[in-house]
Structures are given as C-alpha cells and as structure tokens.
Symmetry: C2
Subunit: 359 residues, 2 copies
C-alpha cells in the first residue's frame, strides 16, 4: 500500500481496503508487481488474510524458466502466513485477528484421506490455494481445515520460520518422513535448494545419525552443516552414487530425500539407497520415468508427492514457537514485496537460496 | 530314477547316486526332461538335497513363452524342498536327513542387508539358487543361511504347502507385507495366478477386512473365495480401477498387491490405491515405466521386488506345520517330474493354476 492509502485508511470503514498489489507471471522471466483485485469471501468456508510475509518457492522457478508453460498471466505465490482479516459465515475455528499458517493445498481436514494424514489429497482439496500469495491479501478456501493459528501473535523474528512451515519446511519434513528417517539411520539428501536444506534440518531433528548432503555451492554447504549435515558430496550422477556407497560400507543410505524432481535426481536417489531402504521424493517430478526392471531389483521403498503440510503444521509451529528449530535461516535474501522480480532472478541465478518478500 | 537304478542302489555305497534327471528349457515351449550331471558340493557352505517335490513357477513362463530370451539351454526350477543328502565342511546348522525348505535366492543371512530382512538382496546372494530344482537333486549354496528345517520329517500331505513356502507363498506374503496389509484394511489383488491367490491367503491371515481379487477365471475365483476374498472384479484396466473405486467409496483400496509384472498391471495397481495407500509389487516387472508426474500426485507408497522369502520362512513353516494355512491348494495339477513339459503347457494355457512335479 502506498502512503496515501495508508493515511486514508484511518477514516475509512473497518473492512475497507485499498486495491491491493501482488505479483503476476506473464511469461518466462517476466514477473510483474501490479494492482490486483481485492480477494473477497466467495464461499462461506473462506477466510481473507493479510499476509505478514511471502516468498518465492523453488517450484515457482519451473514456470519462471519456461519449463512449465503457462497459457496466460498467472498470480504467483502459494506459501503464506498472516493475520486473519475476515472469515466466511461457516468458519468456526479461525477468527479475525489470529495469526495463521496454512498449507498450499486447501483441505477440509475431515475426510477419510485427510484423517489418514494426506490432506494434500483431500477429496475437497484445492491445489495452489491461495491463488497468488505473493501479495498483500489472499483468500484461503476451507479456512477451518487449512489454517492453523499460533498461540498468540508472533514476534517478528519468528515470522520467516512460520512462513517456511507453510511449504518449504513442511515439504522437507515430509521428505524425511517419507524416507522413513529415524534415529541411527544414514540419510542422503539429493538437492541443496531450500527444501533439501530443510530436509537436512528435519532429518537431524528426527535423530538421523549421519546426514550426507549433495551440494556444490559453498553457501548451501555451510547452511547444510549448520542444519546438521555430517558429510558433503560434491559429485553427481553415478559418481555421486559411488561416493555415497563409499561412505556407507558399500550398501547405500538407509533413507534418501529427493528434493529436485528430475529423472537424474530420482535415479540417483534410488541408486544411492540400500536394499530395503526408503526414498522420500518431494521435488515435483518432471521428466521422470522410473524403469521397472531396475526398480524391481533395487528393493527400495518409494513414497512422496505434494507434502501434506497440514498434517505437520501443529508440530512444526510448536517447534518454531519454542525455538527448537530455526528453518527461517533458508531466507538469505529479504526484499520488499514490490521487488519480487529481483527475488526470482536471484534464485534463478542461484545468488539466493530463498527470497523472503515483505509486503 | 528308473527301476534298474533304484534296484542297483541297494548294493551301492551310501553316498552313491545314479546320474540324475532334470528339466531343461531349450527355447520357447521346448522343455525336456533329461539326464543331468549330479550336483556336487562345490563350496564348503553348500548342501545337496534330494527334492521331495518340485513345481513350475509363473516366472518360468516368461522364458517358456519366449518373452525372456534365453541364449542357451537352461536348467529350470527354483522352488524346492526336500531331504538333506550331504553338506559341505563349513555347514553348521543344517544336517543330513533333515527336511528343509529354502528360498530361491541363496543368502548368508548374516550380512547387514539380510539382518534388515532383505535376504534376496544379501551382499553374497546367489540368485536363482538352486540352478535347476525341477530335478531329483539340487545343490543349495550358503546352506546355513538359506535353508530352514522343519521340526521333523513332514507327513506327505504337508509337502505341497511346504514347497509353496519356498517361493510362491513367500512371494504372495511379501506382496501383502509390502502393501502394508493390516487388520481392517481393504486390499485389492491384481493377478489371479498362484502368487496373487496366495496374496489373498496372506491378506486374510494378516487381518484384511475386505479382499477384492481381479479375476476372470472361474477356477481361480473359486480358490480366491476359499482363501478369503470377499469381492471379485472381472473388469480390467481403467474399468477395473473404476470398479475398485466404486467398492471403496470412491477412494481406492488401502493396499494393492501387484502380482503380474506388466505395465498395465502396475498402473492399474497405482490407480486403484487411495492416496497414502500402498502398492506391494511382486510380479517381475517387465515393460514397466512408471510415469513420474502421475505417480507424484498419486501419493501411493511403492515397494516390492524379489521376495526375501528367507525372512518369512520360519513363520510360514510354523503356520503350515500347525495347519493354520493350506497354501498347497494352489497346486491343481500333479504330475510325475518326467512330465514337467505338460505342467508348463497346462499353466501356459491356463488349464492349471500351478503344477506340482513329483520326482
């Protein structure tokens, strides 16, 4: 909001808001910050939140780079936390004024699939909800099922970590859960983006004895070590697999977190896992075709997909609130929201691990 | 052995044996029963067993049908049970005179992979051991790690069930374990061959509430129902998937046992499983390529491969010994070993579910 609007708002009705601003992707490497329609309650289960912080997701880079083709300009951003402004008439548990974190998949959290812990496959799920969270305000569908409130309004320094719980931490955490990380195990992490790094943090928290991270970037290696990595492997592909086998008595890791989404990364992950071990994959799979014969004889468990972040939110918020984990460290660049385009550029060029955007 | 040899053996030294006979595959649909060299102790960890019964495996049909191409004549058969004739100097636990059942993968049962329950990926594994168990005698490598003895010599009527534990039951059982079958769950079984049918038996034993078997053959449907199936689905492919969803409130089964090994069967299995559910695949994967994007959004766990039968043998032998399960019912054709070729033909033409061969 500009100064005039801010000044004006003093004398305007409580629910009045200026026309808001948000980011739109128009095509490859064409991110614009512009006026957007104010989000409104459409369904009685909706909530409108004022975003406290937003960010750029690694998955936003797929359309940004033109690998995922978009047919029309799209609002960007699906990671969010903020203050509830307004709720629909059917919303029971979420109240205006609360600070909330939600998953990037809206879910009712009551269906049989949600109850089994797979809220991102909820029978009423709304993928990519909210639409356009790199903005000042956002509409969150299925607010009662999707949002989790913090105990009270958080201090500013916890906001980045709470934001991370919405997707990037929740996704790294799910990667570790899907890879069956447990005390005493050796874990390898393929991918040194923010998700992979938070996979390291998650594995450490879950008691992994040894955490091998595959990374060639000094800044990411440093953060990985800070999050609990014990070994860095700079080799990739078959050489990377050989290096992990060298480090594990020839057997491979017990658990591998795949946080990239390419065929090469997936095959590297399967091959770096010992028979009976687990690959947890959370990079959105792109050109992947898993060859049956090789996979059959690998004896590797596969599990993954879009992280059911809602399952983990209460625990993650609690860990952040009590300062047991500090996932917000993945944000190594902070920009005003209107400079979102620079955040994309910095991540695309690997100058930043992850960009925090402040409205 | 023919009558002359049998008569002669009375006056011959205890360890003397006639030249034995066994089956060889020369090419597509060309199975011959012929003289074979007597198996001998080669490594000090070997045992020689006199087979009490042999059988034809569904996987034998891949080379029989020419789908798996063989370059030279190969001895056939890898499912076995029988009486120990002789052991090598390093064998400690297995003794001549014992009745034993073993896995089709020889394993040391002591390495880290074996100890984690994946003996068919043992670091010293010998696949397809023994070589040629559709014979009178067989050499079993790594006897101490591979063979499990019954409490005493079994009555004849238990021999078919004990034989089944060696592979077909162990494989169906692993399919159910890999599919995370548990009390109260709905299980679907893709494939109505002997492995699929014993997957039904396994799921029933593990407490599945509902067991849906996909089958179009009256004899197999009947046995499936006897083993505990609650529903029969005759549709295949997308229609079969739709039928399973109809039966499961639109969600899909919790657990699916894939007991075929084709791309169609694998995709049908993944699509018939609810988000968060498990596919256990035990059909040797042939033309399978699992598409990453679809698999990513399925949220399905995948696990399978060559069954680590050795893990389950003590429990399976115990269940059979105490007549808690009767897996030997899958043998609906019994032939003298020398008529092995007819056993292959009957299974190939689906006139038999599984052929038992008696030496």
């Amino acid at each position: 909001m500009d100064l005039v609007h801010s000044a004006m708002s003093v004398s305007l009705p409580k629910n009045w808001r200026s026309t808001m601003h948000g980011t739109m992707l128009y095509g490859p490497r064409d991110v614009r910050f512009e006026e957007r329609p104010d989000p409104k309650i459409i369904e009685p289960t909706d909530a409108i939140i004022k975003l406290s912080a937003a960010c750029v997701c690694g998955s936003d880079l797929w359309p940004y780079r033109g690998i995922d083709v978009i047919k029309q300009p799209v609002p960007m951003g699906h990671e969010y936390c903020g203050i509830v402004e307004e709720v629909g008439s059917a919303v029971r548990n979420i109240k205006p004024g609360q600070f909330v974190v939600g998953s990037f998949f809206a879910s009712d959290n009551t269906c049989e699939i949600c109850q089994s812990g797979y809220q991102s496959s909820c029978i009423h799920r709304q993928p990519g909800a909210p639409t356009g969270a790199q903005a000042e305000y956002a509409r969150i569908p299925l607010a009662d099922g999707t949002l989790v409130a913090t105990p009270e309004l958080p201090p500013d320094d916890l906001v980045p970590s709470l934001l991370s719980a919405s997707d990037v931490l929740g996704t790294g955490w799910f990667g570790a859960v899907a890879a069956a990380v447990a005390p005493g195990k050796t874990v390898a992490v393929v991918g040194d983006g923010a998700v992979g790094l938070l996979g390291v943090l998650s594995a450490k928290h879950m008691g992994a004895e040894r955490i091998i991270v595959m990374s060639r970037h000094a800044d990411r290696q440093k953060l990985a070590l800070e999050f609990g990595a014990t070994d860095i492997v700079t080799e990739r592909g078959d050489e990377g697999v050989a290096k992990i086998k060298d480090l594990t008595n020839g057997l491979g890791a017990h658990s591998v977190i795949e946080a990239v989404g390419t065929h090469e990364a997936m095959m590297q992950s399967i091959r770096a896992t010992r028979p009976g071990g687990h690959v947890g994959f959370v990079g959105v799979l792109h050109d992947v075709e898993i060859p049956g014969r090789e996979y059959f004889f690998s004896h590797v468990h596969l599990h993954g997909g879009p992280a059911p972040v809602r399952r983990f939110l209460p625990e993650l918020i609690d860990l952040i609130w009590n300062r047991k984990i500090n996932p917000g460290k993945v944000f190594d660049l902070t920009l005003p929201l209107e400079q979102a385009a620079e955040g994309y550029r910095a991540m695309d060029e690997r100058r930043a691990i992850k960009a925090l955007l402040l409205p």
